[in-house]
């Protein structure tokens, strides 16, 4: 580790010495996500894209690399850092029933998911494997299936548990007919995340495996509740998402909002962890000149990292939903230009 040594000497030769250690961070990894989990290879080709976010439901029989996704293996072997979001959320297909399957010769039966999340009034509430189900061990087969597939990938990934716990819990959750408010859901999720971490960490994992939990990062109290030091000591990264969705939103303000809450509210273990921005984007409806907004991102990230506190080490553009690049070619060109500058190089 580099070290600066300061020596102060008086006329008689008495000295005092002080040292300050520092380390040199790698460039921030510029990353991407393409709508629908589609093959992003063509969009990334020739650009300084070094990081990727992917989403999988633990209900899915094909988690690593995913159904019909050989390109993920190619990108991973080429050094693109994968942030694999594993969700208890059931994506709905092909059905919600009990699953029975064998993993490496062991048979598992996993009951149907019994929790609802994202209970926005008027919306259809998605189903998810319940935090109670996880803690009872009913979902161990899902974890075993995921791990077995993961071991065949050939590289380590960051496993982000849940996409956005705050979005999942914002309107409460229900499991087995019992309703839990936002704060109760957060507390139950922390227990379930701990269970899953214990399960994985008790087994042989591919080299380079890291873990994080997923948050949109839009609610300060939830962010604090879901990042107790006891959980953070078992996680490798902090994570949040950042979107520009209002004409008044600057990149600096949007990326720093959750960071400022973290610095104010979280403990030293949490703050020692670097940050993955699993999703960032700019919504064209309110900010028509997406390219101009994207162009301000490198300086914003450089400034935030220069200010101290947890360092942002990966930023993955979410070319879907709020972040959909319209027109795509213009947005992609802006992303390429941004990722060709400090702090991405």
């Amino acid at each position: 580790m580099p070290r600066v040594t300061v020596q102060v000497r008086d006329a008689a030769g008495n000295t005092a010495t002080a040292v300050a250690d520092y380390s040199l961070g790698q460039p921030v990894l510029g990353g991407y996500y393409l709508s629908g989990g589609a093959d992003p290879t063509a969009d990334m080709a020739g650009g300084n894209f070094r990081s990727l976010t992917q989403y999988r439901s633990l209900a899915d029989g094909y988690i690593f690399p995913g159904y019909n996704r050989p390109w993920l293996v190619s990108l991973g072997k080429a050094g693109v850092q994968m942030n694999m979001v594993l969700e208890l959320k059931h994506y709905g297909a092909p059905g919600y029933g009990t699953q029975s399957f064998a993993v490496d010769g062991t048979s598992y039966t996993v009951p149907a998911p019994t929790m609802t999340i994202q209970q926005r009034p008027g919306a259809t509430w998605p189903r998810a494997y319940g935090y109670g189900q996880v803690i009872k061990g009913q979902c161990d087969g899902l974890l075993a299936r995921a791990l077995s597939q993961y071991r065949t990938l050939g590289f380590g990934v960051n496993i982000q548990l849940a996409s956005e716990l705050d979005t999942d819990h914002e309107f409460g959750t229900t499991e087995d007919g019992k309703a839990y408010d936002w704060a109760e859901s957060d507390a139950r999720a922390v227990q379930a995340m701990n269970y899953i971490l214990t399960w994985f960490k008790a087994r042989t994992l591919p080299a380079g495996t890291t873990f994080s939990v997923g948050l949109g990062g839009f609610d300060r109290a939830c962010f604090q509740r879901t990042h107790p030091e006891s959980l953070m000591s078992r996680l490798d990264y902090l994570q949040w998402n950042a979107y520009g969705t209002n004409a008044s939103h600057t990149a600096l303000a949007r990326f720093r909002r959750t960071k400022d809450w973290a610095v104010a509210d979280l403990g030293p273990v949490a703050l020692s962890r670097p940050v993955i921005i699993a999703e960032w984007g700019v919504r064209v409806a309110e900010i028509p000149n997406q390219a101009a907004w994207i162009a301000t991102v490198p300086a914003a990230i450089a400034q935030l990292n220069a200010e101290g506190g947890p360092r942002i080490v990966r930023t993955n553009y979410f070319n879907s939903g709020w972040g959909t690049l319209t027109p795509k070619a213009t947005g992609l060109a802006a992303l390429r230009e941004a990722y060709a500058k400090r702090p991405y190089v």
Binding site: V4, V8, D10, A16, V19, V28, N305, P343
Partner: protein
């Protein structure tokens, strides 16, 4: 003769390549005193010159900064108790 004391603090613990790095050195020594000597020359007739002042520092301190990674640190400012040095990551 008292021994000096010193502290060193960087503006961050992790730097990205190309970042400006700032090192703040705070230092002191109980013996180090600024001193002002005022001189008035008076002749035999009692005529005195205007006073002139010179300042001196008793037991001044010298600060040296070294870096085991070979970076060069340049002094930006130094007021006798706080010195700031700059380098590039």
């Amino acid at each position: 003769m008292a021994a000096p004391i010193a502290t060193a603090a960087l503006n961050a613990s992790v730097f990205a390549p190309g970042d400006q790095m700032l090192l703040t050195v705070t230092y002191s020594d109980a013996d180090t005193k600024p001193l002002t000597v005022t001189i008035v020359v008076t002749d035999a007739q009692g005529n005195s010159s205007a006073p002139v002042k010179v300042t001196a520092v008793i037991d001044p301190l010298t600060v040296t900064v070294t870096d085991n990674s070979g970076r060069t640190w340049t002094r930006v400012s130094d007021n006798g108790s706080v010195a700031v040095y700059r380098s590039v990551a």
